[in-house]
């Protein structure tokens, strides 16, 4: 039998299926085919040819997401031993495990784009790559855990749901799994919040105080408004929505759910225009966002240091894995 892989192509590049950019063509022609494919809603796999701009764009985006999952467990980790009941402790432990699992899945996606995991850890710890603003802040009370699990995860899931349609298919598939797990976290967080709201006056006040503190970072989380046509991640369909679209979506879903609990939001300007459906709000403090994500937040350095120490402490595990004789050789 003839090996099908040894056959010469019988079709002209432009006739060969929907992925002519995988053919041996001059770079600019490939680029055009690639761009047309992606803009028309086509998907890209790790094994496909891709322009450098696309590869680095996806890599930067996924790496930042992976970093945020990894660093995002540290504020919650601080409460594992202080959770008020056994069931809360189990749920929080499972959430922490999930988030680290998401980091693993996302670093795997990024590795396939060509950057080794050790290099990604090097860059994270050296401050060359970033993680989300909300994970640079302290957790002061148990109510913070409810607010993080409910509202930080909700703000994140609004963005992540839109990423299930990313043009980079391995990322899109991973986001489907991650969104499914995040939906559990939101229920867990909302349950913590509703429990505190229906508790003592002190518990209620503690929750309101946490919400007041987290509202600023939550409003900054999706980033400043930027024109759609200038955003290269949107151009390549790596992501689907602008930061303002995500913030509006978050407000539309969650403000009513917060207010129905009798809680207040610390923004006198926050209101929805009944005609357009758009929310107006006090301009978030973008200087604070810039300060925090460049690792000058209240807990940035402490959390990075925690990662540095734990990386050193676990180095021997990674090295012993690499040193162990292969099972075949040992047999």
């Amino acid at each position: 039998m003839t090996d099908p892989l040894s056959l010469d192509p019988i079709l002209e590049p432009h006739e060969r299926g929907r992925l002519p950019f995988n053919e041996d063509l001059p770079h600019d022609e490939r680029f055009e085919h690639f761009e047309a494919h992606v803009i028309a809603g086509g998907k890209i796999e790790a094994s496909d040819w891709m322009p450098d701009e696309y590869r680095t764009g996806v890599l930067r985006f996924v790496e930042m997401h992976a970093n945020s999952e990894l660093m995002g467990v540290l504020p919650e980790r601080e409460w594992l031993m202080r959770a008020p009941t056994l069931r809360r402790k189990l749920a929080l432990t499972a959430k922490v495990q999930d988030e680290v699992g998401h980091a693993q899945l996302l670093y795997r996606v990024a590795e396939d784009l060509g950057k080794p995991r050790e290099a990604m850890f090097d860059d994270l710890l050296a401050g060359k790559t970033k993680f989300h603003n909300v994970f640079h802040y302290p957790t002061k009370t148990w109510a913070d855990i409810g607010v993080i699990a409910w509202l930080v995860d909700a703000a994140a899931i609004v963005a992540q749901q839109a990423l299930r349609d990313s043009s980079y298919a391995p990322y899109a598939r991973t986001m489907k799994k991650i969104c499914w797990e995040e939906s559990v976290h939101i229920m867990h967080g909302r349950d913590v919040v509703v429990t505190l709201v229906t508790g003592t006056d002190q518990q209620r006040a503690m929750l309101q105080e946490a919400l007041d503190r987290w509202w600023g970072p939550l409003m900054q989380m999706h980033g400043p408004r930027s024109p759609r046509e200038k955003d290269r991640d949107l151009h390549w369909r790596i992501k689907a929505k602008t930061s303002e679209e995500l913030r509006q979506e978050f407000l539309t879903i969650y403000v009513p759910r917060i207010l129905e609990l009798g809680l207040t939001l610390p923004d006198p300007e926050l209101r929805r225009d009944d005609a357009t459906g758009d929310w107006s709000y006090t301009e978030p403090d973008w200087q604070e966002l810039r300060t925090v994500v460049t690792n000058h937040g209240p807990k940035s350095e402490e959390r990075l240091e925690f990662r540095r120490v734990s990386r050193e402490e676990t180095r021997w595990v990674r090295e012993s894995i690499l040193r162990a004789p292969a099972p075949e050789a040992a047999a």
Binding site: P4, L5, L7, P9, I10, L11, E15, R16, G17, R18, L19, A94, Q97, G101, Q104, L105, R108, E111, D112, R117, R173, T174, K177, E181, E312, E313, R315, W316, E319, S320, I321, L322, R323, A324, P325, A326, P327
Partner: protein, 142 residues
């Protein structure tokens, strides 16, 4: 915690790796009994044993899988040649949708003098006839 001796040197100086190196393993999972194995994602591991441990942590820690496979990515042979898989030729004769006979059927019925039967009646009749067919008893199979 101290790191094992020479550990640092082994990684940093790029000396020949004594043990295996990490490589990607593709993970397939069966969600529930009777389902096909579906691709779930991948893990980095030096061998199948550790790949399975990672796969369990990543894809089976909340009872979402009843069976897992790991396959070394390098052991997968693939074919994506559009000459063979997606030629621009009409292949509709290979698919049920390639046969559209509504008008011809109407003409045939008209010619034979039979009114068009109500779609629902004819379907119900078919189902009845099929389910009336004797099935092998379970005892016979044993």
């Amino acid at each position: 915690m101290t790191s094992p001796e020479n550990g640092e040197r082994m990684i940093d100086e790029g000396s020949p790796v004594v043990g295996p190196s990490l490589e990607p393993w593709e993970v397939f999972r069966r969600e529930k009994e009777g389902d096909p194995m579906r691709h779930g994602g991948s893990v980095m591991a030096p061998d199948a044993v550790l790949a399975l441990h990672y796969a369990r942590e990543m894809f089976g820690r909340r009872q979402e899988s009843v069976h897992l496979w790991v396959v070394r990515r390098n052991d997968i042979h693939d074919l994506a040649d559009p000459d063979l898989l997606d030629p621009p030729l009409d292949r509709s004769f290979k698919k049920p949708g390639g046969y559209v006979m509504r008008d011809k059927l109407a003409a045939a019925r008209e010619r034979s003098g039979q009114a068009k039967p109500k779609a629902r009646d004819s379907k119900a009749g078919d189902t009845k006839a099929r389910s009336a067919k004797p099935r092998p008893a379970k005892a016979d199979e044993r």
